[in-house]
Symmetry: C2
Subunit: 155 residues, 2 copies
DNA sequence: TTATATTTGTCCGTATGTATG
DNA sequence: CCATACATACGGACAAATATA
């Protein structure tokens, strides 16, 4: 009798906006991942432009018929991808992307990327969800750049 | 009288493992950040090697005398940094890092990094918290590489 | 193979702090 | 001062997926 145990909940969703229906609690994909995917699409398509508010947690929770935990985790995912910023007292907003400046790398460098830890983020004044570019020069020295402010160009 | 308002709680921590004492609920640093920092240190030092289980949420909650919420948030931070993997039914483990292969980029390319969306992650079979490297060639074509598998080298 | 235990996912409730309007 | 909104933090409960005996 494990089947259709969410049936009643689905029926109770009448009155919820059409877009809310695209979240399926029976899916194998966690609800919070589904909401993150939805919001990410709206951000990347420009439907939610930089600076726009994505809606309060309570509103999203009600609109999509999911719990507060799921909404918070979805927002946490988007923050960890650098797509939104949220802080105490502020509505969660689509993060404006800074212009990238060009940095020329010399010959024979290796270039890699990774996520910074919280110390590095503080030191470089970076938002959550922004990777770093790491350039290792032929002499062994390393240099680290914020990934949303820098674009490298090969010689 | 805001001082020592958690005094009683400290006394009540007798019986908790010594390492647990390194989490201070009175600190301005959130508890979940402190736990994330602790676990990150253990991962980066090799004390928790790739593939190792970091301990269940319930266990960490009990061991450090903090709530499950804080534990989950700490794990979420580490996941977004590409340090651990977790999913339903599986114990949370330290993410194994694959060997990086060298890819030579031609002259005049621009190289940038960003977080992939979930579609890209699925297509490239990438874990959460792993950025991508994006190479734009002089002819305008783009190529995207998983950031933990590829290291670029300038010509 | 089946059954049980473990672990993470999700929901809910409550409370306090911080920041904005 | 008050209302709103998010951040942090605790607690309980159950579901779903996997691990293990």
């Amino acid at each position: 009798m494990a089947t259709r145990q969410y049936g009643a909940r689905c029926v109770s969703q009448r009155g919820v906006k059409a877009e809310a229906m695209s979240i399926d609690p029976r899916s194998h994909t966690p609800v919070y991942v589904q909401l993150a995917d939805l919001l990410r699409d709206q951000i990347e398509s420009g439907e939610l432009p930089p600076g726009a508010r994505i809606g309060s947690e309570a509103r999203l929770s009600q609109e999509y018929g999911i719990g507060r935990d799921a909404v918070r985790m979805a927002i946490s995912v988007l923050r960890s991808e650098g797509l939104v910023t949220s802080s105490r007292g502020h509505p969660t907003q689509v993060r404006p992307r800074p212009e990238r400046r060009l940095v020329e790398v010399p010959s024979g460098c290796t270039i890699s990327t990774r996520m910074p830890n919280s110390n590095e983020r503080r030191q470089m004044d970076m938002d959550e969800g922004v990777p770093v570019l790491e350039v290792r020069y032929p002499d062994g020295k390393k240099q680290t750049f914020p990934g949303d402010e820098v674009e490298l160009i090969s010689p």
